[in-house]
């Protein structure tokens, strides 16, 4: 086999209402591919947390999802402010979200730890002032 399926999405950072559309689309595609529902759930939750982060912290970006025989890899790349202290950002409860974001139901500082919990591998590549790329892998 060795076939790969690649899905790419542009994430609009100015539209909170539409945040999650990419994750929803991936969820549907994986369902149609007949992927195990627990794996779909993990991918959907992790990607949705990341997609929301791109909108509330980084003004959008691009997501690429690659489905291969062994795993699903999600790459979330933005040109936002970057993360100055990854150790802090990974702590449950740490959030720099603005009060408006909190009134929308986000900004509890749970997203990054949740993404780590639901995936088999997660890497954060970030440069302050340039942007952040998060790569997550879920193995079959």
């Amino acid at each position: 086999m060795g076939d790969q399926l690649i899905f790419t999405y542009d994430i609009d950072g100015s539209d909170f209402t539409r945040a999650g559309e990419a994750s929803s689309s991936v969820k549907n595609k994986l369902k149609m591919l007949g992927v195990n529902s627990e794996i779909i759930r993990r991918v959907a939750i992790a990607m949705y947390e990341g997609e929301i982060n791109m909108v509330i912290h980084a003004d959008g970006g691009q997501i690429t999802v690659t489905v291969s025989d062994d795993d699903i890899v999600m790459v979330l790349a933005d040109r936002g402010p970057g993360i100055p202290d990854i150790g802090k950002a990974m702590q449950e409860g740490y959030s720099t979200a603005r009060p408006e974001v909190r009134s929308l139901g986000f900004g509890a500082g749970m997203g990054l730890p949740n993404m780590k919990r639901y995936t088999d591998q997660m890497e954060i590549d970030t440069v302050v002032g340039k942007g952040t790329t998060i790569t997550m892998k879920v193995a079959f």
């Binding site: 999650g20 529902s37 939750i45 949705y48 929308l104 509890a108 749970m110 997203g111």
Partner: protein, 114 residues
């Protein structure tokens, strides 16, 4: 407990999904922060919340939630209902506040599943 039974106990309005009335649920998660729902919802298949925006439906979708219950008279708009319809998620709305709504369901045997 079926969605229909929850609707009766909460004196709730069925805003979408009457055809899902027989779907059975055992565990409920209630919160206004979707961050917490995503982190702690666990095996829950019903989400009770006082927050009312499209991300509530999105969050439910990602977690395979079968029914969203809006408390204290919150009314989802058409966009949210359309989204719920597309995803096959039942929507109930009750006038009860969160504590009372939770208490009523608990009294009738539902539990938190986080």
């Amino acid at each position: 407990m079926t969605i229909r039974e929850m609707q009766k106990i909460l004196d709730a309005q069925f805003l979408y999904g009457e055809e899902l009335e027989d779907v059975d649920a055992e565990f409920v998660f209630s919160a206004d922060m979707m961050s917490d729902v995503l982190a702690y919802c666990g095996k829950c298949s019903v989400l009770m919340t006082g927050l009312c925006n499209p991300q509530v439906v999105r969050t439910a979708e990602m977690l395979d939630i079968v029914c969203i219950i809006f408390v204290r008279g919150k009314m989802p708009d058409e966009h949210m209902l359309a989204l719920a319809m597309e995803k096959g998620i039942a929507i109930l709305a009750t006038e009860h506040y969160m504590f009372t709504a939770c208490g009523l369901l608990y009294e009738h045997g539902l539990r938190g599943g986080a």
